[in-house]
Amino acid sequence: MKYSGFKVLWEGLKGNTGWKPLWRKPDPKKNYDIIIVGGGGHGLATAYYLAEKFKITNIAVVEKGWLGSGNIGRNTTIIRSNYLLPQNQPFYEFSLKLWENLEQELNYNSMVSQRGVLNIFHSDSQRDAFVRRGNAMLMSGADASLLGVDALKKLVPFLDFQNSRFPIKGGLWQPRGGTVRHDAVAWGYAKEADSRGVDIIENCEVTNFLIKNGRCYGVETTKGVIKSKKVGVCVAGSSSQVMGKIGINLPIESHVLQAFVSEGLKPVIPGVITFGAGHFYVSQSNKGGLVFGGDIDGYNSYAQRGNLPVIEDVCEGGVALMPMIGRARLLRTWGGIMDMSMDGSPIIDKTKIRNLYFNGGWCYGGFKATPASGFCYAHLLATDKPHNDAKDFLFNRFERGRLIDEKGQGNQPNLH
């Protein structure tokens, strides 16, 4: 189905009777070239780029629940490329460039809104660290600028500039960052993958892998056996559960991350703002709700719900940054299961089983990575070689001591 302004008008006149489902509900075939396990943002993006860029269309995406029922529908929708390390930053900048053309490419309104991401700093030494980060961003081709207090007072006058513990000294500003309507990302990729012949099979849980002589040749599912030449796993918080079926332990712990939405308010927050003295970030949705979050709860969890101490901690961060948030009422909180890796960076790699591939370890930064993760995973699945921008996201970095540790926290996933 093609969308256009004319079509919206036409359907408005016809009482919106002509809209059709965006993807089919096919039964699985017996054989595919590639099976993607996991129908979330990354899995659907992988299927789309395999079909569009690598011309492989005999693909099934098998999903345990309904399409986009995991973290693609549970995140805080921020896109940005403000990383420091040379293994990470070019990848996230590649992702941001893909975001910028996403709606035209998918012919789907995913509401990519480049309203800017602002990282506040509160001390001279933090300013130095953010200057360094900004320079790393510029070197990767991204945009970044340093804003002083005067510029911030024009942009975000409601911040607590004179906070006695954490006075605001300025901010690192990435105008190209912003927010995206997260569900629409999954729906847009699903629509275009489906129209190229990809079978998206929902409510179909993978129960085991078919392996013979160290080679994977398909999966067992709740809808029967499906064979394929290659299998790509891409299941975020369930990574350890899925790979554990064949005895593979991953450098990953699953943790719960909570997110929050306030009641709808008039437009007040221009972009995304992050607090530099604690973990708190906030943006305002198009419906007016303040969308915010902070730290993970910090213990292994598959519960998709968190506990109150973290809610208190996040709200304290919010009030310290912008006291006016204390007047907003919290409407909803929810939790998602993060695949927290041992160094805070992802893995897009082959496994020790031939023809079985793995994509995971996105910690709580997976949403912004969706397009590049799909593109680079598609590149690996199609060519057996890592994409140049994801060439360091390999399993063997842990045994080689080449960790990609943005925060320098070591093998303690709840600190990344």
Binding site: S240, G244, N249, E253, Y299, N300, S301, M342, N414
Partner: protein, 90 residues
């Protein structure tokens, strides 16, 4: 979550620091065969179960003891709490 400390009774989980999988108690011997592989496994690889998990919690805001907590990662139910020093090597 309330952690029923063996010495102090029920304490709020926010008094504790979470250190993860209790396998960290069993540090491999660096002189053993395949010690490189064993340390990779010890340092980085985790079973990460959905269900019963044995894990280490450090009572930083209390008596600074290390606890071995058996907890369900799906329901957050705490099934058993022991002092780590009583269980080491068992």
């Amino acid at each position: 979550m309330l952690i029923d400390h063996p010495l102090l009774g029920p304490r709020d989980a926010s008094e504790f620091i979470y250190m993860g999988d209790a396998k960290l108690l069993n540090r491999p011997n660096w002189k053993s065969q395949n010690s490189k592989t064993k340390f990779l496994d010890y340092g980085y690889l985790r079973k990460n179960p959905a269900g019963v998990h044995k894990e280490l919690w450090y009572h930083e805001q209390g008596d600074r003891s290390w606890l071995l907590v058996t907890r369900n990662t799906v329901t957050h139910e705490i099934l058993k709490v022991e002092l780590a020093r009583d269980t080491k090597g068992k």
